[in-house]
């Protein structure tokens, strides 16, 4: 039977040597052609949108507008980060928007009526998210109702719940300085730079250490040039962002100075790093991908599928709570519409535009941030162009459809290419 050993097309490579940057690039191009686009559509979309808006409305590229983008997109991005977990399982959570509303209302009520300290209120809001997620997850995983139906029902019920919490439609304003600061205040410029230096250094150190450890063990590691390119790209882009955000953006600097990185940025960064670590480097994260990729295989491998499902919903609703807190902070108030109208679709859109598949098994937390940026740019740019809500909805709807279309087509292409 030794005759089969040298089949053409079955490359026999014992690859212990590290691939060069050229090989990495070729491999990436092959992946994209094979239907695995990753973040490419989101990044290209971001570049195109920014170019168009920058040409049409010079105001788009001012530092005040750049800072606005972050605070505008923050809540949606945070909700989308949670949604990624549910989408990875091939499920959906349509109630995430109003779940964030309910949690924001809990925050507002405990802050104002109960007069509790802000950290207790934040914990209460997040705990509400955990309870909501547990209930939704149990209904999906244990009872076996499709997640679409469970969360659609919750979508309606939570609208009612928000109304109950805010007393049939009153607007509860939030005056706590800490909560309001989250989406409305900035880091001092020096802290922005310190944070920047810390992030770039840690990123570089992690990449170098991993490569060193792997090559010491004789495993393939990323080439130095690729690591340098990655770290360099991060250093340049993040440096540019911090520089622009540290410019004076007050209309009247003599009266009040407005500089620095918005506080939501480090909040999003920390959550991005934590959830990426959970998803990529823990057994729990690995099991989420496994359940999303092949539930039966996961079950046979001894993975507690139901528990994984419930946890994903818990993470989703808790992140919705965080998004709700940021939304409440940005508006300095909570009303029956917090987390309503387009929030959920924007959040799902953000995750999908970023490259998370609606079919499960494929996606990253970073997708939510990239997609959130696209959604924020559309919303912001269209506003600057003077278009009303009607056009904004139409455009965002089309973009969501486009992203889902790209996802579906990429999947088809992958199937045709024998991948998947």
């Amino acid at each position: 039977m030794s005759k089969v050993k040298d089949l053409p097309g079955e490359a026999i490579v014992t690859a212990t040597r590290s691939p060069s940057i050229g090989h990495s690039f070729v491999a990436y191009v092959e992946r994209v052609r094979g239907g695995d686009m990753g973040a490419l559509p989101a990044v290209l979309g971001l570049i195109v949108l920014c170019t168009v808006f920058a040409i049409a409305r010079p105001a788009f590229v001012t530092s005040i507008n750049f800072a606005n983008l972050f605070t505008q997109g923050a809540a949606i991005t945070l909700i989308a980060m949670g949604l990624v977990f549910v989408l990875l399982l091939g499920e959906i959570d349509l109630s995430a928007g109003f779940a964030s509303g309910v949690c924001a209302a809990v925050l507002a009520v405990t802050l104002t009526s109960a007069g509790l300290p802000w950290y207790v209120c934040v914990l209460a809001a997040i705990a509400t998210g955990v309870v909501i997620g547990t209930a939704l997850g149990a209904l999906v995983a244990k009872v076996g109702i499709p997640s679409f139906v469970v969360t659609l029902a919750a979508f309606l019920a939570f609208q009612g719940l928000v109304l109950v919490l805010v007393d049939e439609g009153t607007n509860i304003s939030i005056r706590n300085s800490v909560i309001v600061a989250i989406a409305n205040e900035n880091l001092p410029p020096w802290l922005g730079w310190a944070l920047y230096a810390f992030c770039v250094l840690v990123f570089a150190a992690v990449q170098l250490l991993r490569a060193a450890k792997r090559s010491r063990r004789g495993l393939t590691s990323d080439p130095m040039s690729l690591i340098a390119a990655r770290v360099g790209a991060l250093a340049v882009l993040a440096g540019l962002a911090v520089y622009v955000l540290n410019l004076e953006r007050s209309r009247n600097p003599a009266l009040v100075s407005l500089t620095g990185v918005p506080i939501v940025v480090p909040v999003i960064l920390v959550l991005l790093v934590v959830w990426t670590l959970v998803l990529r480097r823990t057994a729990f994260g690995r099991h989420i991908y496994a359940v999303g990729g092949n539930t039966e295989a996961a079950r046979r491998a001894g993975i507690p599928v139901d528990r994984i499902r419930i946890s994903a919903f818990v993470i989703c609703s808790s992140m919705a709570a965080v998004g709700g807190i940021v939304a409440a902070s940005r508006a300095s108030s909570v009303d029956p519409n917090t987390g309503g109208s387009s929030v959920l679709l924007y959040a799902v859109g953000a995750a999908v535009i970023g490259g998370t598949s609606l079919f499960g098994g494929k996606g990253r937390v970073l997708d939510a941030v990239l997609g959130g940026a696209v959604v924020a740019v559309i919303e912001n740019g269209m506003g600057l162009m003077g278009y009303g809500a009607s056009v904004k909805y139409l455009v965002t709807g089309s973009v969501l459809l486009l992203a889902a279309g790209v996802d579906a087509l990429a999947r088809k292409r992958a199937a045709a290419a024998g991948l998947r």
Partner: protein, 254 residues
């Protein structure tokens, strides 16, 4: 020689339908035992009973000469019995290493110990002389059918298993890939494992097996050495339960 895995007089019914009648079966270390039989003869049911997926109604399972209780897949795994299912049970969206360690990941504190998993996976694959995958970090979705089967088998071997049961490993494969997988099956046995190969394909059976066990309508028609029988005799055992002196007499186990 004591068989590594032996079942004695196993009965199994699904409601009113009796699927296995007092089945006797043995698999020896270092040998490939082919389990053959027509559709519905009870091959998969027998395997699932051994694997702990179905509880048995009667009879006993012996491992290394000692009677054992197998109440679930985990029990089977602890004994060292691994089953590679026909539909593979691999996650397409994970890479080879991730699939091989799925559900039994190595951890370094809270985080996964990717490097040692990768090393061990590479060792296992090379100990099986698998050289047809470009990188063990490539996604399973990009592998051919034969390569997937190889990964599934390697996954079963990784856990110091003693008995590996393969359910129709070559059913969906082309000629060259079938040859590769059969070669791997033979190597497994040569390393001292007891291999049970379920197959419909007589060529495969005669190419790699040391013994052949033929099931006929839920009864073990005969368990013979491959060298002692001919192609035609085995086909007769499968289709009618008997062949000359071999097999069932009047539909009853001899």
């Amino acid at each position: 020689m004591i068989p590594l895995l032996e079942v004695r007089g196993i009965d199994k019914s699904f409601g009113p339908v009796k699927v296995l009648h007092k089945v006797e079966f043995a698999a020896y270390a270092g040998e490939v035992t082919a389990l053959v039989g027509d559709n519905g003869a009870g091959k998969s049911t027998l395997v699932k009973c051994v694997g702990g997926i179905y509880p048995i109604d009667g009879g006993e399972i012996l491992f290394d000469g000692n009677p054992v209780q197998v109440h679930g897949p985990r029990d089977a795994g602890e004994l060292g019995i691994e089953i590679v299912y026909q539909d593979l049970a691999l996650c397409d969206n994970l890479d080879i290493v991730q699939n091989m360690f799925l559900g039994r990941e190595r951890k370094n504190g809270l985080l996964l110990d990717e490097d040692s998993m990768e090393e061990l996976a590479a060792q296992t694959l090379s100990s099986l002389s698998v050289r047809t995958v470009k990188s063990i970090r490539q996604q399973v979705s990009s592998l051919s059918g034969g390569q997937r089967q190889t990964v599934a088998i390697a996954k079963a071997v990784l856990w110091n298993s003693k008995v590996v049961i393969l359910d129709e490993p070559t059913a969906a494969l082309g000629v060259a890939q079938t040859a590769q997988v059969l070669e791997l099956v033979r190597r497994l046995a040569d390393t001292g494992l007891a291999v049970v190969l379920i197959s419909h394909n007589m060529n495969d059976v005669f190419a790699v097996s040391d013994r052949i066990a033929a099931l006929y309508l839920g009864r073990m028609a005969a368990q013979v050495k491959t060298a002692d029988v001919t192609h035609a005799q085995v086909v007769e055992l499968i289709t009618s339960g008997r062949s000359g002196d071999l097999g069932l007499k009047n539909g009853v186990t001899p």
